[in-house]
């Protein structure tokens, strides 16, 4: 794309509201896109190489306010990392063991065996068995217990033992997040396990900052009409307590949130500005990183791949068959990690998709009973469905109440009246959001394909969580019915907040936006106090 046509396109994009003059602006944008695509087509025809922007230019293009959102999310996560006692985050002992194994032996851990002596001693001295899931028990509270812990940590450092063969539930996860965590782990190699954990938690906090940054960028692309509302969405997400809690821990979920936010951003950008080869490669790369981060990404990927296909079909109208070359390149990049995964499992004689196979091949129950269960995991039962959650309104009691507050090993929450009270602002935000959507229904229709892609990504993740939960049902009602698993969709929450602020109208929108920000801030601070009270009160 030439400099002048890019400039024109940018100037039109910044004015591209979803309001009254949307049609005029769209037609101008269309002209600009056609002009630029004609140039592109000739470039591709000549076999010109993709014009890459330098990393410095990319960073410079990120608005200052997005960096500030990232900083808020990062500082918030660091605060959470200091408040939350070690290992008091779901599966943190297993994730730490994975990093330890990778850092000290260079090999992957297994699901069998036991933790290293170093970690066993730490878990024992911290009384994890009696504190986790037992809110009546607090962390150690005496000088004697602390001295015992420090002595054992120092003693275990002198042992010859290397790594931790056992990483339990974490062993089936792909290694990218853990490989990154090897860096802080190694930096703290001269210190105790708890010090190394804090360094690892700090890396997670930085990744948490990226989640807020990409969410801001996604909102900017998806809702370009009111720039002030981007801050509402970006800051709202940066202050979500559960994001701070998870990003303040050693857990690959923290990275999955950032990767998914980046994917939402890349897709929104491509839907807004068209699919270039560079954008196709970016989307493919982010999908590949997602596959290498956490297995749950398997639920999000199909929707994103559909998005790539839709974008390519659109791009074909302007740049011709070069669009399919970009698609092929993106798919090759995106699907290379799962291909390696499948080959590795086939070579070792295991299931083709490893542990993923268990969720995909649920032998028990009919298709209808599975569909019924997954539906009821999120929504009220429909006529004709067997009641799988009798007496539990899952939408409210699992998803909403646990969003309001469920920290530690799901053992730290607010009293019931707080959950009831939270319904009021939640309903107000939802109503404003709907108002905004109704007002912009014409634009929504025009962007139906884009919305369908986001919907497919969301539904894919929700179905995966439902299928996994169904494996242990009815012994456990909803094993994976935990909000942290849904948090990869957090950019959509950010967009909903921005829409809600816009739904209040031009005059009151910024006021509502500020109130939303302070509401999320209050929620975050009170959640931190709740955790402090539970563990140290």
């Amino acid at each position: 794309m030439s400099r002048s046509s890019r400039k024109r396109l940018v100037s039109i994009q910044t004015r591209d509201g979803d309001g009254a003059n949307g049609v005029r602006v769209r037609s101008r944008r269309r002209q600009a896109q056609l002009a630029s695509s004609r140039k592109k087509r000739s470039h591709f025809a000549l076999g010109e190489r993709v014009a890459w922007t330098s990393p410095r230019e990319i960073l410079r293009a990120v608005p200052k306010i997005a960096w500030l959102c990232a900083l808020v999310a990062c500082m918030n996560a660091v605060a959470w990392s200091l408040i939350t006692p070690p290992f008091e985050v779901p599966d943190e002992p297993e994730h730490v063991a994975y990093v330890k194994q990778l850092a000290e032996t260079g090999r992957l851990p297994t699901r069998y065996g036991s933790f290293s002596i170093e970690e066993e001693l730490a878990l024992e001295d911290l009384h994890l068995q009696t504190v986790a899931e037992q809110p009546q028990n607090q962390t150690i509270s005496s000088q004697g217990q602390e001295e015992q812990l420090q002595q054992d940590l120092a003693r275990s450092r002198r042992l010859d033992e290397k790594g931790s063969e056992y990483a339990g539930v974490a062993a089936s996860e792909p290694p990218l997040y853990y490989a990154l965590q090897v860096i802080p782990y190694s930096l703290g190699s001269g210190s105790t396990l708890l010090d190394r954990m804090e360094l690892m938690r700090l890396l997670s906090a930085i990744i948490g900052g990226l989640t807020a940054l990409f969410t801001f960028m996604f909102i900017r692309e998806a809702l370009p009409g009111a720039p002030w509302a981007w801050t509402v969405g970006g800051l709202g997400v940066a202050l979500v307590p559960l994001l701070g809690f998870m990003s303040g821990a050693v857990n690959p979920d923290a990275m999955l949130y950032a990767v998914t936010a980046a994917l939402f951003y890349c897709l929104a950008r491509a839907f807004r500005c068209g699919l270039t080869r560079a954008r196709a490669i970016s989307i493919g790369s982010v999908i590949a990183i997602g596959f290498m981060t956490k297995l749950n990404f398997v639920g999000i990927a199909p929707g994103a791949l559909v998005g790539l296909a839709v974008l390519s079909a659109r791009a074909r109208r302007t740049i011709g068959s070069a669009a399919y070359a970009s698609l092929a390149m993106a798919l090759a990049i995106a699907l290379s990690p799962p291909a390696v995964y499948v080959i590795a499992h086939l070579a070792s004689g295991a299931h083709t998709l490893g542990i993923v196979s268990s969720a995909l091949h649920v032998a028990r129950g009919s298709l209808w009973s599975r569909v019924s269960y997954i539906w009821q995991l999120y929504l009220p039962k429909l006529p004709g469905m067997h009641a799988d959650f009798a007496g539990v309104f899952t939408t409210r009691q699992i998803w909403f109440d646990w969003y309001v507050g469920q920290y530690g090993w799901l053992d730290t929450g607010f009293p019931g009246w707080v959950e009831d009270l939270a319904l009021i602002p939640a309903a107000a935000i939802a109503a404003l959001c709907v108002r905004s959507l109704v007002a912009g229904r014409r634009v929504l229709r025009a962007r139906a394909a884009e919305l369908a892609v986001y919907g497919a990504m969301s539904v894919g993740l929700l179905v995966l969580i439902g299928m996994d939960s169904y494996l242990t049902f009815p012994r456990l009602g909803a094993e994976f019915g935990q909000l942290r698993y849904v948090l990869p969709l957090i950019p959509l929450l950010g967009a909903a907040l921005a829409l809600a602020a816009r739904g209040a109208g031009r005059r009151w929108g910024p006021v509502v936006g500020v109130l939303v920000i302070t509401l999320f801030l209050a929620h975050d601070l009170l959640s931190q106090l709740q955790v402090v009270a539970r563990f140290y009160g």
């Binding site: 306010i65 900083l71 808020v72 500082m75 918030n76 605060a79 990392s81 200091l82 408040i83 006692p85 070690p86 899931e133 037992q134 809110p135 009546q136 607090q138 962390t139 150690i140 509270s141 602390e146 812990l149 708890l194 010090d195 804090e198 938690r201 002030w228 801050t231 800051l235 202050l239 959650f389 007496g391 539990v392 309104f393 009691q397 699992i398 469920q406 090993w409 799901l410 053992d411 019931g416 049902f473 009815p474 456990l476 009602g477 909803a478 910024p510 006021v511 936006g513 500020v514 920000i517 302070t518 209050a522 601070l525 009170l526 931190q528 106090l529 402090v532 009270a533 140290y536 009160g537």
Partner: protein
């Protein structure tokens, strides 16, 4: 712009008030426990409607904490009776999770020994719960006959005499122990970080409409 400033001021004032109200609350304290044992008594999917005799209901009990664990807990109702009369009762809706369930009850003025604690864990045959307590001794009797093989552990709670605010230094000291950041300094770092977050959010909110 003025409206935004007023909204920000109100929002921050509300936040400060909410934090202040939280800090003047009193934490719950355990005033009595019926048994020190925490052994698993039963793992079941079926409704548990049992009464266990020989309980002491302390005066001013605000909540009962039952050692009943579930991933997605059902509705739980409790009643404390003496001589066939209900002294207090309470319920906890479904959807709770964890190793214990706390049920708020109406406080009573006097301590009542020899009370009967009845609780109904309304399982529907799907989700399972486990009961913990003291095996054998003083078994809880089911409403429909039979018994739970032991006494379910129950803690009787009331608000302590001191507020969270008055305990702040103790909490800060406690945070030194068993924590990743070994030392009281971490408390001040957290306060500094969150104060910075508040300032940054205010700055960004004010800049939002420029």
């Amino acid at each position: 712009m003025r409206r935004v400033r007023v909204a920000l001021g109100l929002g921050l004032a509300f936040t400060a008030a909410a934090v202040g109200v939280a800090l003047v609350q009193s934490p719950a304290e355990v005033i009595a426990v019926n048994t020190p044992e925490q052994q698993t008594l039963e793992l079941t999917r079926h409704r548990i409607d049992v009464c266990q005799p020989g309980e002491v209901l302390p005066a001013n009990t605000h909540a009962l904490r039952l050692q009943v664990s579930a991933l997605l807990g059902p509705r739980v109702t409790v009643r404390v009776l003496a001589h066939g009369r209900v002294l207090t009762s309470g319920q906890r809706g479904s959807g709770w999770t964890g190793g214990v369930v706390t049920v708020p009850v109406r406080p009573v003025a006097t301590t009542t020994p020899g009370a009967q604690l009845c609780f109904d864990v309304q399982l529907n045959g799907d989700e399972s719960v486990s009961l913990k307590g003291e095996p054998g001794h003083g078994s809880a009797t089911r409403a429909g006959g039979g018994s739970v093989p032991g006494r379910v552990r129950v803690e009787y709670l009331r608000p302590s005499g001191s507020s969270w605010w008055s305990r702040a230094s103790m909490v800060a000291k406690h945070m030194r122990f068993g924590n990743i950041a070994n030392g009281t300094w971490s408390v001040f770092v957290v306060i500094l970080l969150m104060a910075s977050v508040v300032c940054l959010c205010s700055y960004m909110a004010l800049r939002m409409t420029r």
